[in-house]
């Protein structure tokens, strides 16, 4: 009988009962004796000199324990928040890396930049006193838009980054691309903006710092996707605390979407301040602070051209992108518009020559870094919009032009012209599944039916690929990563046969406690309720690189498999001894160790007991215990891919777009828990639809004020904004290089969806002669397209 909680079973998430009944343990839930509360004094200006800070009134306010500033941190030799990835410009020079201090030193560079903190007995007292901190600002000219920041007369964000340029990078073969364009029969072009987004995790960021003077140990509890990375970055670079005296705990975390990967200044401030004042210090962002200070996502302005032969075969792709990095370099910011973006510009297509240039600039806005998909949604959106335009230019159906240019399954592994090597994928198969699923043949009839109701109907495709399972350490290192990107795991059998798994991955909504337990239950036949997954604590987990880039199962899960391999190897030796058989005669199946051809067998529980009570144990060969640790470094990225199809109806009177159907056919390799995979895809699609139609982070370019600083103006998608989704996957193309054959599913929905929606919107508006609309496709934007195209109607 198959294991009902094994691999491939839709096991309900074991963590949900505690979340749904309010029993989660989030950072803000932690209360310590003698704990204080910290509130930030943040800059109301996008760019200003801080001429002085007068904290006397605040210090005299009720309950105030301390007011601390950048000068205090400087006096204590606190360092700059480090950047984890270095990019080199075309000319070989390293990127500009200006200081990024937890509390500003003399100058603030975005609205929300931290100037001082007030620590008080209660949060309200800290808030009251924060209003009494008098900061003498001298306002400076500001710039929020990347396009203006890149112009010669723009205000300078950092003295050490002339022209606001952090780097001017490129990838690919320019000469080969120029030659491709020289031979082209058709050229498709696009100018597009990839709109800036605010991550909006449900749980705002929070941090709790503690210091134990008896042991000299610091503890930081924080809303992080990767506590070990925070320990490394903050300990080594910011505060100078060695790892053995610094514990970082990331307990239940309510969503991250990338925004909680990074090391933020607030984490360093609470850790530093806790020692300074000798009491625990807690900070929890309110929603307004989250809008202002969580690292934002996307914000690209691009021009792209695609050269084709007369039959619509792609010959060459040329891309120039301007990326907004915000005021400071967030932890992984430089890698997002470069190695996580331009390396994906081949898409699913065998375009032989690609050249991309990316200029990244500083602006007076919040830092920009990875947000669900991180560079890959930007790449997918650009390619898939351009391919739709190319279909029009070449006179081909949008499905046909894709099919004609797909990398065929037979060409796998496929080396793209932009560094990556795809290991597997059958892109035509995804399409073959999708077309009947969405009744593509029936679209014309549906369009006619919509027209009869006065609506404009469109259909859009997005055939996406992404690089996940980040990343082979040697490759990442060669590309500028200042860290390895392996993962660790420890599988500990206890004497009575239950299991604790320690993983360096971190779950903040992904359901690892279920999926990872399924792996163990399957492998050893242990009931799932006897398997505990532990994550998020540097004092418990050997090491970890955390969760982002759809890496947890492909990298973290593979580390668990390696540790289980070790456990099984040792258990087999123990079994051979106990069963008085040769190790080579022991057959292993789902935790049952049998002497081949006999009925003599032992369960893993019997072996675990013997391992800890070693009365009948090969002590001359083996140590007691059944507890193994492994590190797994991936051999390649994984390449989830798929075909998303969206249908929209547009009301021409108002410009309102309704997504009326959305289908996703995905290749995630092998699937461990279909229910969780489907949930991940649903959430991802909603975020992709959100970017396409609703979400937009807007700064006033001159004043640098955030105009969409609350849900009154920043439009998060809600359940009634989206239809029910049709989600399918196939497992015919497992990943070829990790032991589970898995590719990752966490970002796919977001990566594929935006392009599918926008291709559908533009298709619906085809009659008006429009070939592109920037996201978000708001009602007014669409109404204007229609108005501009039909002056007669407008006059009516």
């Amino acid at each position: 009988m198959a294991n009902p909680n094994g691999v491939g079973a839709s096991v309900r998430r074991r963590e949900d009962p505690r979340f749904l009944t309010g029993r989660g343990n989030y950072t803000d839930d932690f209360k310590r004796p003698n704990m204080t509360h910290m509130v930030h004094v943040r800059s109301p200006y996008a760019h200003a000199l801080v001429k002085g800070i007068d904290a006397s009134a605040a210090l005299a306010a009720p309950g105030v324990v301390a007011v601390l500033t950048g000068a205090d941190m400087e006096a204590d030799k606190v360092g700059s928040l480090p950047c984890g990835w270095q990019i080199h410009s075309k000319d070989g020079s390293p990127m500009k890396e200006p200081g990024h201090f937890p509390l500003a030193r003399g100058r603030v560079r975005y609205v929300g930049d931290a100037v001082a903190v007030v620590i008080a007995e209660t949060k309200d007292q800290a808030r009251d006193a924060a209003e009494l901190v008098m900061v003498d600002y001298e306002e400076l000219p500001a710039v929020a838009a990347s396009t203006r920041a890149a112009t010669p007369d723009a205000p300078q964000v950092h003295d050490e980054a002339p022209g606001n340029v952090c780097y001017d990078w490129h990838i690919g073969d320019k000469a080969a691309v120029d030659s491709a364009f020289a031979q082209a029969a058709h050229v498709a072009k696009i100018d597009l903006v990839n709109n800036r987004l605010v991550p909006n995790a449900m749980e705002p960021r929070a941090a709790l710092g503690e210091y134990d003077p008896s042991s000299g140990e610091h503890t930081l509890t924080t809303t992080s996707q990767n506590p070990h990375v925070i320990r490394l970055l903050m300990g080594a670079f910011v505060l100078g605390i060695p790892e053995h005296k610094l514990r970082v705990v990331a307990p239940d975390v309510g969503g991250g979407f990338g925004s909680k990967i990074f090391h933020y200044g607030e984490e360093a401030v609470v850790t530093w301040a806790a020692k300074k004042i000798g009491r625990p210090v807690k900070w929890t962002a309110d929603r307004s602070e989250s809008f202002l200070t969580d690292a934002h996502g996307r914000d690209h302005v691009s021009h792209a051209e695609l050269a084709m032969d007369k039959d619509g075969h792609f010959l060459g792709l040329r891309v120039a992108t301007l990326a907004n990095l915000g005021a400071y370099l967030s932890t992984f910011a430089p890698s997002i518009p470069t190695y996580l973006y331009a390396t994906l510009l081949a898409g699913q297509y065998k375009t032989p020559a690609i050249y991309a240039e990316v200029k990244a600039v500083f602006t007076n806005t919040a830092p920009v870094d990875a947000y669900r998909g991180a560079g890959r949604p930007e790449a997918c959106y650009l390619i898939e919009r351009l391919v739709d335009i190319a279909a029009g230019v070449a006179g081909l159906d949008r499905v046909e032009i894709r099919r004609r240019n797909f990398v065929p399954a037979s060409a796998m592994p496929y080396q793209t012209p932009v560094a990556l090597q795809y290991d597997s994928g059958d892109f035509a198969k995804n399409l073959d599944i999708a077309l009947p699923l969405v009744d593509y043949d029936g679209f014309a009839a549906r369009k006619a039916a919509s027209k009869a109701k006065g609506k404009l109907r469109g259909i859009g495709f997005s055939t996406y690929i992404e690089a996940c399972g980040i990343a082979p350490s040697n490759v990442a290192g060669a590309l500028g990563a200042r860290a390895g990107l392996y993962e660790s795991a420890e599988v500990r059998f206890h004497p009575t046969g239950s299991v604790t798994v320690f993983t360096g991955s971190h779950s903040h909504g992904q359901g690892h406690e279920t999926t990872f337990a399924q792996l163990v239950s399957q492998r050893f036949g242990v009931p799932i309720e006897n398997v505990e997954i532990v994550h998020g604590d540097t004092a418990k987990i050997p090491f970890g690189m955390g969760t982002y880039g759809s890496r947890s199962l492909a990298v973290g899960g593979s580390a668990i498999v390696k540790a289980m391999d070790k456990v099984e190897r040792k258990a087999k030796k123990i079994a051979a001894h106990m069963l008085e058989a040769a190790e080579t005669d022991i057959e292993v199946k789902e935790g049952r160790f049998t002497v081949a051809g006999t009925d003599k067998s032992l369960g893993i529980g019997d072996i675990a007991l013997q391992a800890y009570v070693p009365h009948n144990f090969p002590l001359d060969e083996l140590e007691p215990g059944l507890d193994e640790q492994a590190f797994y470094d991936p051999k390649n990225f994984t390449y989830p891919n798929g075909c998303h199809v969206c249908e929209v109806e547009i009301d021409p009177d108002t410009g309102v777009t309704q997504v009326v159907a959305f289908s996703a056919v995905d290749d995630f390799g092998n699937v461990i828990n279909p229910l969780i995979v489907e949930g991940q895809v649903h959430g991802g699609i909603v975020q992709g639809i959100g970017q396409a139609l609703l979400e937009n982070c807007v700064y006033d370019d001159e004043s640098g004020q955030l105009l969409t600083g609350s849900y009154m103006d920043y439009c998060m998608p809600r359940a009634d904004d989206v239809p029910s989704f049709t989600v399918r996957y196939h497992e015919d193309q497992p990943c070829t290089h990790n032991p589970l054959g898995v590719k990752g599913c966490g970002e796919a929905g977001t990566i594929g969806a935006s392009a599918a929606v926008m291709n559908a919107v533009v298709d619906a508006l085809g009659a008006f002669g429009v070939t592109h609309i920037d996201m978000p496709a708001t009602p007014e934007k669409i109404w204007r397209v229609i108005q501009d195209a039909t002056p007669a109607m407008a006059a009516e």
């Binding site: 309200d124 808030r127 009251d128 209003e131 307004s288 009177d653 108002t654 609703l694 807007v698 105009l707 969409t708 849900y711 009154m712 103006d713 920043y714 439009c715 998060m716 904004d721 708001t778 009602p779 007014e780 109404w783 204007r784 009516e796």
Partner: protein, 263 residues
């Protein structure tokens, strides 16, 4: 929020007395006031909670219309069989306010006394020839809204109920802000015999009527009667979500939809 004291009077007289205090503020459903307090954008000395004041809740049929207590929550109006039977357009309007949480807390009186330019209820007050009763007088709906967040209420005056006239036909059509779900443009159309009222909310600083639309619809109560008619964009609101031109366009579109919905 800043510290404040809190009172929950159990009679209208007590409430009127309590609100006389310096910097006192009435608390009804709190759907605008509480977020404002949480963001420290207001600092009242005392909140006078109206939830225990009797006779300010519920819906009653009166000659020629309905009386709705000022403390009646949006959800009660939306789900009231009496409202649905008498003025279904009013129930429909209430059902479209904010979201479920807002409707379960927000009140008619709070909405109209706040006079947010993008609130839904002001359009109904004007289109349905409402009369407002306060602790001291009656105010015609036509005279109530005097500007953006401004009303005819005197300091400390408390709205206790609103009487709506029953139209022959009516409907409310709203183009909502996708983020906040307030009205970018909301048009309430009501027909009383030969008279038609068209009241527009969301588009300008305060609710306004459109005499040209009213005249056209009085002659022919059909959507096509509004063909070629529009309001000037000159005095309309413009923000991130909608320009004045677009709002002006939407006024005609929503008015037509309201007429169609009214049947």
């Amino acid at each position: 929020m800043y510290a404040f004291s809190y009172q929950r009077p159990t009679s209208l007289a007590e409430a009127v007395a309590a609100i006389q205090a310096d910097e006192a503020k009435l608390l009804s459903g709190g759907q605008t006031l509480l977020p404002t307090l949480k963001q420290r954008l207001a600092q009242p000395s005392v909140l006078v909670d109206l939830s225990a004041v009797p006779d300010m809740k519920g819906v009653a049929a009166v000659d020629g219309g309905l009386t709705v207590g000022a403390f009646t929550r949006h959800a009660e109006v939306a789900h009231s069989d009496l409202v649905k039977a008498t003025i279904p357009a009013l129930a429909h309007l209430a059902e479209g306010i904010g979201d479920r949480q807002v409707r379960n807390m927000g009140t008619l009186g709070g909405s109209i006394a706040n006079a947010d330019p993008s609130a839904d209820y002001p359009s109904a007050v004007v289109a349905l020839k409402a009369t407002l009763t306060t602790d001291r007088r009656a105010i015609a709906g036509d005279d109530f809204f005097t500007g953006m967040f401004e009303t005819a209420l005197e300091p400390g005056e408390i709205v206790t109920s609103v009487r709506f006239a029953t139209p022959d036909k009516a409907a409310y059509a709203k183009f909502r802000n996708p983020a906040s779900r307030y009205a970018i443009v909301g048009v309430f159309v009501a027909k009383f015999g030969a008279e038609v009222r068209v009241a527009v909310t969301g588009a300008a600083g305060s609710v306004f009527r459109v005499p040209a639309f009213e005249a056209a619809l009085a002659a022919n109560f059909k959507a096509e009667a509004l063909n070629g008619l529009s309001v000037s964009a000159d005095d309309l609101n413009a923000d991130l979500h909608a320009s004045a031109d677009y709002r002006a366009h939407l006024v005609t579109v929503m008015a037509k939809r309201a007429v169609e919905a009214a049947g």
